[in-house]
């Protein structure tokens, strides 16, 4: 249930936004889940619902979209998707990346030039893309 802590972060972000914007209530949350972190969507959704309820945020609409992870080599410029490279990751390595996506640099290499110096251009982890509320 590592997903729980990230869901908690999302709800805390909504609460901060509500305070900052002086909103009566939060009505909608849009969240992007980067493929690299391999978040379990069902567990994450469950945690979001539970924590929202604990914080008395009722009737909140939650939209979750997953984003494909794209990596780009800083040395040769080659761009590739994480799903292509997972073939070379064992279960344990994928699990480590789930906890800290940056450790991908310890396990992945550019398929073209074998460099570990790549950029995670898209689909890293949890991102709140939109918060809506009423005044």
């Amino acid at each position: 249930m590592h997903e729980w802590s990230l869901a908690q972060a999302v709800i805390y972000t909504a609460i901060e936004y509500q305070k900052k914007e002086k909103l009566k209530e939060i009505t909608e949350l849009e969240i992007k889940l980067g493929e690299l972190q391999q978040i379990d969507i069902e567990v994450f959704k469950f945690a979001l619902r539970e924590i929202a309820q604990l914080k008395k945020m009722v009737g909140i609409k939650i939209k979750i979209e997953t984003e494909k992870a794209i990596l780009k080599c800083r040395v040769c410029g080659h761009q590739w998707s994480y799903s292509d490279s997972t073939k070379r990751l064992d279960e344990e390595e994928a699990e480590f990346i789930h906890f800290i996506p940056e450790v991908a640099h310890a396990y992945l290499r550019c398929p073209k030039c074998k460099s570990p110096d790549f950029e995670i251009t898209k689909g890293r982890g949890v991102w709140v893309s939109s918060i809506k509320g009423s005044r």
């Binding site: 729980w4 802590s5 990230l6 972060a9 344990e92 390595e93 450790v103 310890a106």
Partner: protein, 267 residues
């Protein structure tokens, strides 16, 4: 919006004191000081956490001989307890492979660790910092609002000049500096103390160069028996905790309590 930034303070709220052990150069004993400090506080009955933020060269696990432990996944990550210390490091996830991280990746990994690590209630969190004033230092200042810096130096001019830059930056940003420790002292010259006087930062004490320290690597109990640890122990109990007492009433009462505990108040 990055949601992780909004949860860091919540994760740290149960920690009374945050101490970042910092210094300008590698190899001056920051990790040894951080490790031994955490051990001493823990042995005296405090609840202690130890966080290795030197992602390029994590070494606390080597100094303390920590192996075959892994954090528990429980609504976040719960660090394993070793010698009574809750220990967190990137090494759990890199399996001893090199982690070639750019600055932005270091920063992201630090935020991730701080956002998901559940320390619970602690008296002290000791943070072993990488050398210099790069991403890790800036993130610790940005995200750990109550942190105080313990700055380690040696009498080498090269180290001293970089330490001066750290002190200048911390002072400019009004970040609390607990004090300076001079490590690996080989002469009786007071030059370090004298040169750093202008910063108005407490000079906590000196640790002599201990040629036998290396042989304690990997053994926490041996580390505590070294001359290095003896010197550090004096500094910790006579200066550092006193300084903490001045800042926090909670720690003052803890110190009072400590005096009554068996083995407490080691000097």
């Amino acid at each position: 919006m990055d949601p992780r930034l909004n949860i860091v303070e919540e994760r740290l709220k149960g920690i009374k004191r945050l101490i970042a052990v910092s210094g300008g150069k590698g190899g001056i004993g920051k990790s040894s000081v951080a490790s031994a400090l955490a051990l001493m506080l823990s042995k005296s009955g405090y609840k202690v956490g130890l966080l290795d933020l030197d992602f390029w060269g994590p070494s606390v696990h080597l100094i303390l001989g920590i192996e075959e432990v892994f954090p528990k996944e429980e609504r976040g990550i719960v660090p394993p307890q070793v010698y009574g210390i809750k220990f967190m490091s990137i090494i759990y996830y890199t399996a001893d492979k090199p982690s070639p991280l750019r600055g932005v990746d270091v920063s992201n990994a630090i935020i991730e660790l701080l956002a998901v690590t559940r320390w619970g209630s602690l008296d002290f969190l000791v943070i072993d910092m990488p050398p210099g004033i790069g991403d890790a230092t800036l993130d610790v200042i940005r995200l750990m609002k109550r942190v105080g810096f313990l700055v380690v130096t040696t009498q080498s001019r090269v180290t001293l000049e970089t330490v001066k830059k750290i002190l200048r930056m911390l002072k400019e940003l009004k970040v609390p500096i607990l004090g300076i420790i001079e490590n690996m002292k080989i002469t009786n010259s007071p030059s370090v103390r004298d040169q750093l006087k202008t910063f108005g930062v407490p000079f906590l004490g000196e640790i002599g160069f201990d040629k036998d320290l290396e042989s304690s690597t990997g053994n926490a109990n041996e580390l505590l028996k070294t001359d290095f640890a003896q010197d550090l122990r004096k500094i910790v109990w006579w200066h550092l905790t006193k300084k903490c007492v001045n800042i926090s009433n909670e720690v003052r009462s803890l110190m009072e309590e400590l005096k009554t505990r068996p083995g407490g108040g080691e000097r």
